[in-house]
Each structure stands twice: as structure tokens, then as C-alpha cells.
Symmetry: C2
Subunit: 142 residues, 2 copies
């Protein structure tokens, strides 16, 4: 876990981006949470250690990290986006009833991805879409 963070920091540095306190904390929280954090949540968590970190800084950091390819975001339907690290590729199932987010391996979408490529020439962007529906606990759509 500490190794993973160290690797990410190293990535940052090696691509010529500056390693700041805000970025270090944000990456650290993302590693700790294993993804799925909104900008809000991320700000709240980092602020426990660094109270004057502003929400807009979180957005700018995430934007920079995304541009560098370390982070990606997914829109979960009703506005708010969640951010996660790009290593450990996965897709998201979101329950519209209870809001739970289930991670599923990329391989689940391999067949679909292939079909869409051959039928429509369309390339799915990995890690960047959420599938909406209802989870097992909430039962099928009534």
C-alpha cells in the first residue's frame, strides 16, 4: 500500500509534474479508499490532515492527475463524479435504488467490447462508464 503510493508519487515526478502536499494526500486517500470517492469526499478526508485544502484544489489536482493518466473519473448518473486510480482496471455497476457501487473486472465487458468494435467500429473507453440498474439487495426493477 505504501509501495503503491510511492510508485504513484514517482510517476508524478518522472513525468515532470510537481509533487505537492495536496497531490500526495489525494493520491494517498485514493490508495486507501480503493477508489470511488467524489471530489467532496476526497476533500473532506484530506482536510483532516490539511484543513486549508480547498475543494477547487482537489478538482485541479484530480484534473492534473487525470491528464497524466494516474486517475480516471466515472459519472454515476445524477451529477457527481467519482474518481479512482487507473491501475487495477475495472468497471462500475451502480444501484439506482441504494447507490451502492459494485466493481467488476474488465473481462466482464470483453465480449461486449468486441461486438461493438466489429459492428459499429466503436471502441469502449475502459474504466469510464457506469452501468445503472438495481443490485441484488434492492431486487429487480419493479
Amino acid at each position: 500500500m505504501a509501495d503503491r503510493l510511492a510508485g504513484l508519487i514517482e510517476d508524478l515526478r518522472s513525468r515532470g509534474a510537481r509533487v505537492t502536499s495536496a497531490r500526495r494526500h489525494i493520491l494517498s486517500e485514493l490508495v486507501g479508499a480503493e477508489g470511488h470517492l467524489t471530489a467532496d469526499e476526497l476533500a473532506a478526508r484530506v482536510q483532516r490532515a490539511q484543513p486549508d485544502l480547498h475543494l477547487s484544489t482537489v478538482y485541479r489536482c484530480l484534473d492534473a492527475l487525470e491528464r497524466l493518466g494516474l486517475v480516471d473519473h466515472v459519472h454515476l448518473g445524477h451529477g457527481r463524479a467519482v474518481y479512482h486510480l487507473t491501475d487495477d482496471p475495472h468497471q462500475h455497476l451502480v444501484c439506482e435504488e441504494c447507490g451502492v457501487v459494485i466493481e467488476v473486472p474488465d473481462s466482464t465487458f470483453a465480449a461486449l467490447s468486441h461486438d461493438l468494435a466489429s459492428s459499429y467500429g466503436f471502441s469502449i473507453r475502459p474504466n469510464h462508464f457506469a452501468v445503472l440498474g438495481r443490485c441484488a439487495a434492492c431486487g429487480p426493477t419493479s
Copy 2:
């Protein structure tokens, strides 16, 4: 086409909802456009015939129509939602580069839907998610 509109109006009436000028126009535009309209676009089109129709009314109408099951909306990633009629079920592929929306039949997702149901007990909500990626014209993710 006129028949389709008449059927929708009838649906409205039979479920006890009031048939207003705003609702009639909105349904008419949705039929004419074959879906994929944002609230903005919808307002602009209806305003050609009924200039004082307010955007908030469009949202309220769409909300009512959605509650009645005639209309559904999809979030295309960066905020704005598009609305479409619920008959003629289909899914949406959205190109992140050029924004084009490609409709594909529900059947394309049948296998995925089945897999997710059996592996995770998760029921995909039909017609309510968009798949992001890149269209044939824009080429695969660089």
C-alpha cells in the same frame, strides 16, 4: 408518426395526467426527433411554436412524463442529460471525442445483462445507461 403522438397523448389522459399544450408539444418534438434531445434543445424547439414556454416547465413536464413511464433520460457523461421516448428500446454509445450518439438495439446487451444477473444478481436498467468511448470516425483511444 401522428399516430404515435396520438397514442402517447392518449396514454397521458388515461393515466389521469392533464393534457396540456406544453406536454403535447414536448411529446411531439420527441416523436419528431426520435429521441436524444437535451432539455435545452427541447425548450428551443417547442419555443418556435410557443415562445413563452419556460425551461423549468420543460423539466417539470419531462419529470412527469418520466414518472408516467413515457419518457426516460440518459446521462451522457459530462452533465447534460438527453431524453427519449420509452417505446422502441435501445441503448446509447457516446463518442467522447465528437459527441455523436449512436443507438444500438437492446439485444446487443443481452449477453452482458445475463452475465451480470447471474454473477452479481445485478439487473441492468434498460435504456438508462450510455457507453462512452470513441466512434469509428474518431478512431480508437490514442
